[in-house]
Structure formats: C-alpha cells, structure tokens
C-alpha cells in the first residue's frame, strides 16, 4: 500500500504540473491576444540597447518578420495578412536596416513580399534606396528600385537612374542595360538613353567585351532614329506652332529628309501624345 502511494504521488504531481502549465499557457495566449503584439521599439532605442551588437539585433528583427510571415502562410482569413501587419513588418524591417544598413535580407524580403504581395511599393522603395546607397557593391538593390519605379510607379527617370547604376555595378549586365535604356525612352528622355547606350558601348570596348555590343548598337541605332524624328517634330512645332499629326507630315513639309528605318524591323509612328514609337517596340520582329 505504501509502495503504491509512493509510486502514485509523484505521477499525480507530474500530472498536476502539466495541467497547471497548460492552464498558464492558455492564459498567456489570452493575454497576448488582447495586447498589441505589433509594437516596435524605435530604432534609436534599439541601437543604444544593443550594446555594440547591432548586427545581432538586426538579425533578430529580421527573423521576427520572417517567421511572422512564415506563420501567416497557413492562415485561412481573408485577407491573409492585415494592413496593420504589413505596416508592422515594414517598420521592423526599417529598424533592422537602421541597425545594420548593409544587411541584405530585409531589403530582399521587402522587395519579394511587401512590393509584390502587399503592393507597398513606395514604402519598400524607400527602404531599397537606402540599401542601394549603403550596399554600394550590390547590383541587385538598384535593380529592384529601378524596376519598381519603372514597372509599378511609372517613374521612368528614376528607373533609368537606378537601372543604369545597377548596370554599372554589374559591369555591364545586358538585362539592366536594356531596361535602363527602355526606362529612359519611356520617360521621354531619348537623349539620355542614347548617351547612356553610347557610354555602355565605349565601356564594353574598353573592357574588351564583345558579347552584347551588337545588341546595344542595334538599340542605339533605333534610339538615334527616333531622336531624329523627335527633333524634326520639335522644329515643326516651332515653325507651325502645333504638333505634326504624323511622321508623313514631317516628310511632306521637308522637316525630315527621309523615313529612318528601324533596325528591329518595325515602323516608327507617332502616338496620340506626339511621342515617337516603333511597332517593333525595340524587340526583333519576326518576319
């Protein structure tokens, strides 16, 4: 009897302990539900309290966002992630990059999820611009900024600036180069695109890069042709006080000597805003 008691008592104790623990953790969940988990202490405070371990704190903050995001993947609610949660994420990422502005992952995360999933392009770009400034060797971040400006924000000039920076850092990545030129062109800054492409060709020749030069040259040729038409249209406007209706009018009034040809195999035309475009859209047209 006594032996039995000796056996049962500890078991009972363990059982009670488990129950008590469960109860306490339940209560804790309640507590957390009501309090605001989305709080972020200010970056300055974190800087001071990191006591010289800013890098580690930054890692921690990023992991917090990363695991939070991972945790939302099996949510059923709609929307899956609430607006204030996205806000919180970008704030934490901002803090993480204040603590360590060179840390790539927060920028990468912002671009991958905040831009594409939450559509917080402006806020994310602010972050990415900081990263691009700090990580001055990194070609990816200016590419992201440029791409977002170009694709989401329609800010061709800024897109051109960052994309050409990306191209410079990459040592002549063709994707960046063509995107930069395209952005400048879309921003109605054809002469930027031209001088940029000329510069790229010079640079490629200087470094003995053969591959891709032909591509750039082709694009350059196309741009120059469009620039010629643009200039003609400009003089036309000065003379006649209005925009020409189409390119044929320029040829008619002898403002343009002859119709330039598009190396991509398309035809130049003027859109309703008076911008010179090509039917090839600077992609090789299959004949």
């Amino acid at each position: 009897m006594k032996r039995l008691l000796q056996l049962i008592c500890p078991l009972l104790l363990v059982l009670i302990l488990l129950l008590a623990h469960n109860l306490a953790t339940q209560m804790q969940k309640q507590l957390r539900k009501t309090s605001d988990i989305l709080y972020t202490p200010p970056a300055d405070f974190l800087k001071i309290s990191s006591l010289g371990n800013k890098g580690l704190f930054s890692d921690y903050l990023f992991l917090k966002v990363y695991t939070f995001y991972g945790g939302t993947l099996n949510r059923n609610s709609k929307p899956r992630i609430r607006n204030e949660e996205w806000e919180w994420m970008i704030n934490v990422l901002h803090n993480a990059t204040e603590l360590d502005p060179f840390f790539l992952d927060p920028y990468y995360f912002a671009n991958a999820f905040l831009v594409w999933e939450a559509g917080m392009v402006k806020e994310s770009n602010l972050l990415l611009e900081k990263g691009s400034r700090k990580r001055e060797w990194d070609q990816l971040l200016p590419f992201y900024v440029g791409f977002n400006c170009y694709y989401f924000l329609n800010d061709g000039l800024k897109a051109f600036r960052f994309l050409s920076e990306a191209s410079r850092r990459s040592g002549g990545n063709q994707l960046y180069e063509s995107l930069a030129a395209r952005a400048a062109y879309n921003a109605d800054k054809t002469e930027f695109a031209i001088s940029y492409l000329e510069d790229r060709i010079r640079d490629a020749e200087l470094h003995g890069r053969k591959a891709g030069v032909a591509d750039i040259a082709k694009r350059l040729e196309s741009m120059k042709a469009m620039r010629e038409i643009e200039l003609a249209a400009e003089s036309y406007r000065k003379v006649f006080g209005r925009r020409p209706a189409d390119i044929a009018e320029l040829l008619e009034k002898k403002m343009l000597g002859s119709m330039p040809s598009d190396p991509y195999g398309g035809f130049f035309y003027m859109d309703s805003n008076g911008r010179v475009r090509t039917t090839s859209d600077m992609r090789s047209v299959k004949k």
Partner: protein
C-alpha cells in the same frame, strides 16, 4: 618578474579549473550549433548572420568570463583572504595587481581562442554549404574584429580591477563593473542621438549633452572596439583605425591599472 609570472600562472590555473570556465565552454558549443541553425534560416545574407552570431557570442561569452570568472577571481581573493598567501611573499602590491591581471587576461584570451575555433568551425560549415553567399567574406576582417572584442574585454576587466581595488565585497565590484560596461558600450550611441539636430520638438538640454560627453571620456568608449558590422559584410577597415583603437584600449587599461595600483598600495587587509 618571476614572482609576477608565477602569480599569473597560478591565477590562470585556478581560473581554468573552476567550473565557471567549463560551463561557459559548454555554452559556447551550444552557441556554435545555434549559429549554424540560425544563419541557415536566412534567405540571402548567410555569411553576415554567421559572422554576427559568431562575434556576438564571443563578446557575450567574453563578458560572462570577465564578470563571473575574472572580476570574481580578483575580488574573491581579497574577500576570502587568499591574498595573504601572495602578499606574504616579496611581491609588491603593484606586481600583485599586474600578475593577477595578466593571469585573468590569459584565462580570457585562452577561453575565447577556443571559442573562436568553434565559431570558425561553424563559419566553415556555412561557407561550404553556401559558397555563393560568402563571396565578400574575409577571415582577416573577422580576425580583427575578434581582436578588438578581446581588447574591449580587457578594458572592461581593467575597470573591474579598479573597483575591486577599493571595494570590500565582490558583489559591489561586480555591480559597478557591469554598470560601467553598460554605460561604456552605449554612451556613444546616446551622444550621437542627442547631437542630431532636432528640427521639431524640444531641444536636448546642454547640461545633459555635457554629462553624456563627459561620460564618453570617463567611461571606456567601447563602441570603438565594435567593428562587427564591418567584419560581417567584409567592409574595409583601415589598419590605422584598428591600431588607434588598440592603442586607446591599452592606454585606458593602463590608466585603470595604475589607479588600482595606487589605491591598492594604501589599502589594508584586516
């Protein structure tokens, strides 16, 4: 010189054999695995996180050693009167301080060197696993950051010695040196924060700024020894910076130890 060396030697032996050091080393092995685990979770900057973790664990374990093995070894010596067996020898009080300091520094350097080997192992593992993320990684930057961390620990230890040289209990010494560490490693950030021109809101009072500035001079400016970010990203740190920080650290420790010697010379051990 022989006396100083032999005191350093027994201090080292005593410290190395105590459980504190073993406990800390076991903790270090745990940290190594943690490093591999956490840095493996990253999307891109595996190298940076691996280096961050390695250096911060070194710093943290080093601080544990300084406070719980180092400062204690000195202040307990006075508290428990084990100091009698040393002072009864033809050893001057200054030599006592220097010998003790050398011995405890050796414990810290030794333990951290072992820890650094473990941490390097974890970095090697990560480097082999993710070679593309380690393009900018440099062992020399890591080494210099480790070296400066070590110097900062020595500086913190020297402040502990100053407190131990006049306080009568090891607890007070411990508290004072921890407070010094906290101030020393944050004062520079606080100063930077206060000096930022505020265009809106209230201005910081000049008195506060003055106090913080004074604190930066009086307390060891430990931010000078923090090049973890640079090491983590393989950024360039000029040798002149490293040398000047080391110079500052050695000078600061020297001042602390000189003060301790002066105080210790007058002290009685009833």
């Amino acid at each position: 010189m022989k006396a100083l060396f032999s005191l350093a030697a027994i201090t080292f032996k005593e410290g190395i054999r105590s459980r504190t050091v073993y406990g800390i080393l076991i903790f270090a092995i745990f940290l190594m695995f943690l490093n591999v685990m956490i840095s493996g979770m990253m999307m891109q900057d595996v190298a940076k996180v691996a280096v961050d973790m390695a250096l911060s664990s070194l710093n943290f374990v080093g601080l544990l050693l300084v406070f719980f093995a180092g400062v204690n070894l000195f202040s307990k010596d006075i508290e428990r009167k084990t100091i009698y067996m040393v002072l009864a020898r033809p050893i001057s009080r200054s030599r006592y301080i220097l010998g003790k300091f050398a011995g405890i520094s050796a414990i810290i350097v030794f333990s951290l060197a072992i820890l650094a080997i473990f941490e390097s192992a974890s970095i090697v593992i990560m480097k082999n696993g993710y070679p593309a993320q380690f393009l900018r990684f440099s062992w020399s930057a890591l080494f210099f950051s480790f070296l400066l961390t070590l110097i900062s620990l020595i500086v913190v230890l020297s402040t502990g010695f100053l407190f131990a040289s006049f306080s009568s209990t090891s607890f007070i010494t411990l508290v004072l040196s921890i407070v010094t560490y906290l101030i020393g490693s944050s004062a520079n950030e606080v100063k930077a924060l206060l000096e930022v021109p505020h265009d809106i809101g209230e201005r910081t009072s000049p008195l506060l700024l003055y106090c913080v500035k004074a604190a930066c001079y009086i307390f060891p400016n430990l931010s000078l020894f923090d090049i973890k970010t640079e090491a983590a990203h393989g950024l360039f740190v000029p040798l002149s910076y490293i040398l000047s920080s080391i110079f500052y650290g050695i000078l600061y420790s020297f001042v602390m130890l000189s003060l301790s010697c002066i105080i210790f010379k007058r002290r009685e051990f009833p």
